[in-house]
Assembly symmetry: C2
Homo-oligomer: 189 residues x 2
């Protein structure tokens, strides 16, 4: 019954995966299973998701980088409308790839999902005029436990696509807000 | 922490509920929890969802009415894009409201969710040019267990909105396909 294609350990980072569902097209439109506990278990992911979230953002908005410190969340993320560039940063202290990042374009069109285990910082940049983003998490929200990381932390060196201006080479990390107001200027793609 | 508004027993049918999440708007767009296991439990719904589905359809497409016979599914349904008219029909043999239907307009804008317990037939009619529909189910798909019911079964008498032509009064139930090809002509709203 398996209806998902799974790329494991993307970017050489253990545990990160890109999952692509099977799309059944017909005269009416299409149908797809966006999540199937059995398929995930067969693929080696035995995760108990307890919450689903959805956010909408305009072009250039960067949500992140976020993580929960004592209640780390595994996330399964995707775009339902528009295009985003989604990034995970490995913050697992015992990881061989600590500090390494991986990014993937998630679009309503490619229907890719990005599985981010516990112990990562996560964020995304909106590339289209608007984007609607959905994700599942395996622990609840703990507002007082939230951690943030600058999107342009020079030690991490994430290459966000289509950002214009002096970024990334000359950007001064301290010149950018860490908080939720981050909005970048993007070039046409 | 409760972030949902719950209308129980809508249409006087026990177990049917309409759920509206809290939307947190800000400069970036909005954020909402579309599912929270704790909130649902607090509201009296202890359901183990195991699969999420998404379908896309064009105006006039009617998906349904469907049910699984031996593996009945509880469904939590919503529109992420566009507008649909969503209907549940009570097929629980021991129910006081057996054969009764209830319909609710679910739109990307109103963000309403419709909770349909096990033992109902379910379907929806697409009212906008396109609609994207998401739902959660508490049992897997059993293709050989599927049952269908005519959308215009005269004994049930569902009042689908905006359907033009001789329907509903004079429509001959046998004149309409029970299968997945049903596409109705709708008037402007
Ligand atoms: C995460 C979360 C947030 N909220 C509320 C708090 C705020 O009023 C509003 C927006 O929260 P923010 O934390 O600013 O949302 P956002 O920047 O999108 O960040 C979230 O989304 C990020 C990616 O989408 C995640 O990686 C973060 O872990 C998560 O915190 O939603 C909830 O009600 N429940 C939640 O689970
Ligand atoms: C329900 C289901 C379907 N499929 C496949 C089989 C087909 O190739 C394609 C479309 O299936 P259909 O059954 O025609 O989809 P649809 O008419 O939208 O009906 C579904 O969606 C309805 C409402 O959205 C539900 O009430 C029905 O229970 C469900 O069967 O997707 C799956 O791969 N997994 C599934 O769970």
């Amino acid at each position: 019954m398996g209806q998902i294609k799974v790329e494991k350990n993307v970017g050489g980072i253990e545990g990160l995966a890109v999952i692509t569902p099977t799309v059944h097209g017909d005269d009416r439109g299409y149908f797809m299973e966006t999540y199937n506990e059995n398929d995930m278990k067969e693929a080696g992911f035995d995760i108990n998701f307890v919450q689903d979230n959805q956010s909408s953002s305009t072009k250039g908005v960067l949500r992140g980088l976020h993580f929960q410190k004592h209640f780390p969340q595994c996330k399964l993320v995707r775009a339902v409308r528009g295009d985003v560039f989604d990034v995970a940063v490995d913050l697992r202290s015992d990881s061989k790839t600590y500090g390494k990042w991986y990014g993937v374009e998630l679009t309503a069109e490619n229907k890719k999902q990005f599985l981010i285990p516990e112990g990562f910082a996560h964020g995304f940049l909106v590339l289209s005029d608007e984007a609607e983003f959905c994700y599942k998490v395996n622990d609840f929200w703990h507002p007082n436990d939230e951690g943030g990381m600058a999107w342009n932390d020079p030690e991490i060196g994430i290459k966000w696509p289509h950002v214009t201006g002096s970024y990334p080479g000359n950007a001064d990390a301290s010149g950018y807000a860490l908080d939720d107001g981050t909005k970048l200027t993007l070039s046409d793609r």
